[in-house]
Symmetry: C2
Subunit: 256 residues, 2 copies
């Protein structure tokens, strides 16, 4: 989602495109059953490592990606920022758009917990097929997409702040979290997002044969790889509120 320039339009476009990535991610994770061994503490028995297999795969894949320069783009936020190795590649001149000191805003620890304990049980079939590494890899892709969406709130907030600083500055100075949240909330837009992601989940998660028609309204939920209501629940319960939390947190630090 790197953009040479960030504008209300570009930020809106990036969020809409990220919906697709998240829905593909849900569908791909649903290929595998729960595979609970992926999440069990110390199933791995890996010498010198204490944690779940998911933890092992994520922390080590993030290390590879960090060396390859992933986190030089501030749209990306690691799940294990502690002891992340530095980039080993020539630096690319990413636009420095965010206010200094806000890069450290990172709520991935909360995202991690809600993903495992609340989101997965909503859409993954119970069972064990032994593909724990593959499961962890698809978890990582989906976690990264969700995290990118939520932390993109920093860019949304910066764009909005630059558009009308006069609206934000008094609230920031008063540390008026509630007032900021109100200023960032548009019920009708949120409702539209939830409806759109549900529609996308229907289209993208369809079982396609050459002779079925493309009517979405035949009420046959079994043909979807992920129940479309899971996508709208994900947005309603977590993605929309958490993106706003990140925006508020960003704005509270915007004048420092």
């Amino acid at each position: 989602m790197a953009k040479a320039e960030y504008t209300l339009d570009s930020v809106r476009g990036a969020l809409i495109r990220e919906e697709d990535t998240i829905i593909y991610g849900l569908i791909e994770r649903a290929k595998f059953p729960t595979n609970s061994q992926t999440y069990t503490h110390n199933y791995t028995g890996i010498p010198g490592f204490s944690g779940s297999l998911l933890h092992f795969v994520v922390i080590n894949t993030e290390a590879v990606q960090a060396k390859a320069g992933r986190y030089k783009n501030l749209e990306e936020n690691p799940f294990f920022p502690e002891n992340l190795p530095p980039s080993l590649v020539t630096s690319y001149p990413f636009t420095q758009f965010l206010h200094a000191g806000t890069a450290s805003i990172n709520i991935n620890k909360s995202i991690w917990k809600l993903y495992i304990h609340e989101l997965l049980p909503l859409f993954v079939a119970s069972g064990d097929d032994g593909n724990y590494a593959q499961t962890a890899a698809s978890d990582l892709s989906l976690l990264q997409a969700i995290s990118r969406r939520i932390h993109y709130g920093k860019f949304v907030a910066e764009v909005k702040f630059r558009e009308s600083p006069q609206d934000y500055e008094p609230l920031i100075r008063a540390k008026d979290t509630e007032g900021l949240m109100k200023l960032l909330t548009f019920e009708s837009v949120e409702e539209m997002v939830r409806k759109r992601v549900e529609k996308k989940a229907m289209l993208y998660g369809k079982d396609v044969t050459l002779n079925n028609d493309d009517d979405d309204n035949d009420g046959n939920i079994k043909k979807y790889k992920v129940d479309p209501s899971v996508a709208s629940t994900l947005y309603k319960k977590w993605l929309i509120p958490l993106t706003k939390d990140v925006q508020v947190e960003y704005l509270l630090n915007r004048l420092d």
Copy 2:
């Protein structure tokens, strides 16, 4: 795609489901422009490493996945099998379905070359946005999906062989590659696969808004994230023929 049992139906189902993964992968890779620095030899300048950034990301991510047990499932074939670290996790009892000695059939070196030099130029916009690590990660997912599809030919061949060994054995003993290829070729099925993946690429790669209708036939190609003809070309030129090559290679080793 692990199955407790492999049958003609289960194998067919796995191949159809893999089409979706491949199309999501194409769409996700198309999020990024070419980003040619990802593929340039020695752009990385990583101490002690000689190769492209893609090479660096794939070989190191495969090492993490290998430790997590990925390649214990013979449906998975690494791009860099040389010096792959062993699995560090408790072994899962995967069904041993393939004939002994066929696990080493691996045409990933050819897949790697055609992916970079022939497939990518077909559907990726030219340009550079600096997201090389992210680009390499999406390349890896797509490469793995394509490789899984093609090497699944081993399972297809084993199922077919068990169904009617009397048809295959004489051809295998005569090393009749052409005869085997003929026995494995069903033009009408291949045509159906190409049409179905094109239809899937249309549905899954659509830009969705709340008020557009779902008509696929309005001839507006711009609304697709990846030109649907790329999906059918990929299947026609590479996936279908290479899967058959793997089947023939497998069968030629089936009686050893």
